[in-house]
C-alpha cells in the first residue's frame, strides 16, 4: 500500500541532469598554434631543440634518449605490468611540438593573448587575478610553451628561481646540466626515455640555501591541440635548509582520440631541505563509453640527498582515461623523510594504477604512505607500492595505509603492496581496508535531513580527509570541489 514514493519536490530531475553532465573543461581555445606534423624522428628531436635555441649538450642528451627509445621500441620493451588496458599507442601518430603563435617573449602579463587568458579564466585560474592573489605564483603551461610567469620579481628578491624549463636551459644551464636526469635518468623507463628525447617545456625551480619560499608555487598544465602529446619536465632543487611548496594542476579539453601525456618530475633536497609537491590532476577522462581521454603516464621521483631532508608528495587524481604514476622518494641521506598521500578516483571507464616507491638507503629514514582509492561505475583503481629497505638503512621505519572505497557493484579496487627488506632493524607497518558506502551510513545522514547525494559527498570527502589536509588550504577546498563535481551522477 504505502510505498516510498518520492515527493514532488525531490531532486530526481537534478540527479538526472547531473548524470548527463559533460566534462566541464571541454572547450578548445581558438588561437593560432604552431604545430608540426605528427611523427617521431631524429629530425623532430633536432627541430624541437633548435626551436628552443638549446645548447649543444642539451641536444646531445635528447638524441641519446631518442636512440635509446628507438632501441626499446625495436625490442618492444613497453611496460606491460600495470593493471591497465589500452590499445597499442602508435608513436608516429603523435604531434611532438605545438606552440601558440606568435612566440615572442612577453614582458608582462598584459601582453598575453586575451584568448589564452580567457581559457585560464574558464579553468578557474584568472591569471590577471593571480597578481593580486597573495601567496600564489603561477607558471602557466599552454601546450608546450610557458606563457607567463608571475611573481618572478618577488621571488627574485629571495633568490628563488621559478621559470619555464626552456628558460632555465638558457639562463641557468649549469644547474640544469647538473641536475636534469639525475633523479630520473633517460634510461629509467620507456616513457621517461620518450620524454627525455622530446620534452617540450615544464617548470624549473631552484631555492637557494636557507630560503623558505614565501609563496606556494603553482603550475597549470593544459593540453589544447588535438593529438598533442605533452611531455613536460619539471625539476625542483631545494638547497640546504630551504623549503618550497609546489602545486601543479592539470586539465585538458575533450578530444576523441587519446592523448598521451608522459611527464617527468624530478625533486632534489639537500641537507635539512624540504619539498612539498602537490598535484591536482583533472585531465579529460573520456566519455561515458570510455572513448577518448588522456593517457597519463608519468614518472615522478624525488631524492632526499642531504641529511634530515624531506620530500612529501600529495596527489589528487580524478581525471585521465588511464593514470600510471608512482611518485617516489629515494631516502639517501640519514634521518630523511618521505611521504606519499594520494586520492585516486576512477569512474566511467577510467583506470588508475598508482602508488609510490620508498627506497630507504640512509640511516633512521622514515616513510609514510597513505593511499585512498575510490572506484565508481566501471572504474578500476589499483594501488601499487614498493617499500625497499637497503642493507645499510638501519632503523628504517615505514607506515603504509591503503584504503579503497567502492561505490556501486561494477567497479574494482586492487592493492598490490611490495616489500623488500634487507636490514633486520627495519620497522614496517601496513594497514589496508576496503569498504563500501553503507546503506546504514546513508540512512543516518538522511535522518539528519541530509540528501543522499550530499551524504555520499560527505562520506567520500571524509574518507579522503587525511590526504586533503596535506594540501595547502585553498587547494584543499579546490580538491573537495573537484571530487564532488566528479562524483555527481556517479553515486546514488
Amino acid at each position: 500500500m504505502a510505498t516510498l514514493a518520492e515527493p514532488p519536490n525531490t531532486s530526481n530531475k537534478e540527479v538526472k541532469d547531473v548524470l548527463g553532465q559533460a566534462y566541464k573543461y571541454g572547450f578548445v581555445t581558438d588561437i593560432e598554434a604552431e604545430t608540426i606534423p605528427p611523427g617521431l624522428s631524429e629530425d623532430i628531436v633536432r627541430f624541437i631543440s633548435e626551436k628552443k635555441n638549446e645548447p649543444k649538450w642539451m641536444l646531445e642528451w635528447r638524441l641519446k634518449a631518442y636512440h635509446h627509445f628507438v632501441s626499446l621500441l625495436e625490442k618492444q620493451q613497453l611496460p606491460g605490468w600495470a593493471n591497465v588496458q589500452h590499445p597499442p599507442i602508435n608513436f608516429q601518430d603523435i604531434i611532438y611540438y605545438s606552440a601558440p603563435k606568435p612566440k615572442t617573449l612577453l614582458a608582462s602579463m598584459d601582453e598575453v593573448d586575451p584568448e589564452l587568458l580567457k581559457t585560464y579564466e574558464k579553468l578557474g585560474i584568472p591569471l590577471q587575478e593571480q597578481k593580486r592573489l597573495a601567496g600564489v605564483a603561477v607558471d602557466a603551461i599552454f601546450d608546450s610553451v610557458s606563457i607567463a610567469t608571475t611573481f618572478k620579481e618577488e621571488l627574485g628578491k629571495y633568490g628563488v628561481i621559478f621559470c619555464s624549463m626552456s628558460e632555465a636551459v638558457q639562463n641557468h644551464p649549469e644547474l640544469v646540466r647538473k641536475y636534469l636526469g639525475s633523479v630520473v635518468p633517460y634510461t629509467d623507463n620507456f616513457y621517461a626515455t620518450l620524454n627525455s628525447a622530446v620534452f617540450s617545456d615544464g617548470s624549473f625551480c631552484y631555492v637557494p640555501k636557507g630560503v623558505r619560499c614565501p609563496f606556494e608555487l603553482t603550475t597549470y598544465f593544459r593540453i589544447n591541440t588535438a593529438d598533442v602529446g605533452q611531455f613536460e619536465r619539471t625539476l625542483i632543487i631545494a638547497e640546504e635548509s630551504s623549503y618550497v611548496s609546489y602545486l601543479e594542476g592539470c586539465s585538458a579539453p575533450m578530444f576523441d582520440t587519446n592523448q598521451l601525456h608522459a611527464a617527468i618530475v624530478e625533486l632534489v633536497t639537500l641537507d635539512n631541505a624540504e619539498i612539498k609537491y602537490s598535484t591536482i590532476q583533472n585531465w579529460y577522462p573520456g566519455d561515458e563509453n570510455g572513448k577518448g581521454g588522456v593517457y597519463n603516464f608519468v614518472t615522478k621521483r624525488g631524492i632526499c640527498r642531504g641529511n634530515n631532508s624531506k620530500i612529501s608528495w600529495t596527489q589528487v587524481e580524478t581525471g585521465s582515461a588511464i593514470t600510471w604514476k608512482y611518485p617516489s622518494v629515494i631516502l639517501q641521506g640519514d634521518n630523511t623523510v618521505g611521504e606519499f598521500y594520494s586520492v585516486a578516483l576512477t569512474k566511467g571507464y577510467q583506470q588508475a594504477d598508482t602508488g609510490t616507491k620508498m627506497t630507504h638507503i640512509g640511516k633512521n629514514t622514515r616513510s609514510t604512505i597513505i593511499a585512498k582509492t575510490i572506484s565508481a561505475q566501471h572504474g578500476s583503481g589499483t594501488y601499487r607500492g614498493l617499500v625497499r629497505v637497503m642493507p645499510k638503512a638501519d632503523n628504517a621505519w615505514n607506515f603504509t595505509q591503503c584504503d579503497s572505497l567502492l561505490i556501486g557493484d561494477q567497479c574494482g579496487a586492487h592493492t598490490t603492496p611490495y616489500v623488500e627488506v634487507r636490514n633486520r632493524s627495519a620497522h614496517l607497518e601496513h594497514e589496508a581496508f576496503t569498504s563500501k558506502v553503507s546503506e546504514d551510513q546513508l540512512f543516518y545522514c538522511n535522518q539528519r535531513g541530509i540528501s543522499t547525494e550530499d551524504a555520499h559527498s560527505m562520506i567520500i570527502n571524509g574518507f579522503c580527509r587525511e590526504v586533503f589536509k596535506q594540501l595547502p588550504m585553498e587547494f584543499a577546498v579546490e580538491a573537495t570541489r573537484l571530487l564532488d563535481a566528479n562524483l555527481e551522477g556517479a553515486v546514488g
Binding site: E6, E439, D440, F443, N446, Q447, R448, I450, G462
Partner: protein, 255 residues
Amino acid sequence: MLEVRDLHASISDIEILKGVYLTVKAGEMHAIMGPNGSGKSTLAYVLAGKTNYKVTSGQALLDGQDLLGMLPEFRARAGLFLSFQSPLEIAGVRLDQFLRAGYNAIRKSRDEEEMDVLKFNRFLTTKLEMVELDESFTRRNVNEGFSGGERKRNEILQMAVLEPKLAILDEPDSGLDVDAVRTTAEGINQLRTPDNAVVLITHYQRILNYVVPDVVHIFINGRIVKTGGKELAEEVEAEGYDRFETAARASEPGT
C-alpha cells in the same frame, strides 16, 4: 502530532509490525516498553523511513503529513528525529560539519537562510552547554572512537541542534551506567517543550526514574497491547513482561 494507524511492516517477508496504533500529542512524552525482539526498533525505523523495511499497510501522519510517502530526509526536514540505538561512525567527517549540513538542509527546506560557519558555531555552543558537553566534542569525527556513552550523548546533542517536533529515542539508555542514564535523561528533559513530543523506546524502567512519561505503552510481538500511565512502567519493573505476553498471545487473532 503523530498519528499511527494499523501499521504493518515486514522485512524479508517476515511481518514484524502487526497493526500498530499510536497517537502522540504536542507536549507529550510517551514511553514504549517491551521485551527484546518485540519490534520496538522496527517501529522507529519504519517511521523514520529505513528502506529495507516494507510497509504493507497502515498509515503514519506527522501533523497531517503522510510520512510513509516521503524519503527519509524529507521526514527529517518535516521534524522527525530518530535517536539511534547504535549510532554509526562516519570516518573523517567532523561532527560540527555533519550537524551544520543537517541543520542547514532542514532550514533550506523551510526557505530559511542557511547559517554560515561562524553563526552556526555560536548556535552550537549554546546547545553544547545545554547538554553539558565540551566544545572539543564537536571537533571530533562523527562517532569515530566514541565510547558507547559518548555515542548516546551525541544523539541527544543532535536532537538539541535539530530541534525536532517529534523525537523518537530508541533505547537511549541501553549500555549506559547509572550516572550516564541520569545525564542522558536530564538532556531529554531539557529539550522538552509544549510544542514538541518525545517517544522513548526502552527495555528497562530505569530511565523512567528520571524522565516522567505521560503515557506508557507495552509493546509485545509487533503491537501495542496495553496503554496506561506511568504506573504501568512500575508494573513491568515489578513483574516483567510475562503477564503481558501471555495476555497478548491469548488475544491474538486465530489463536
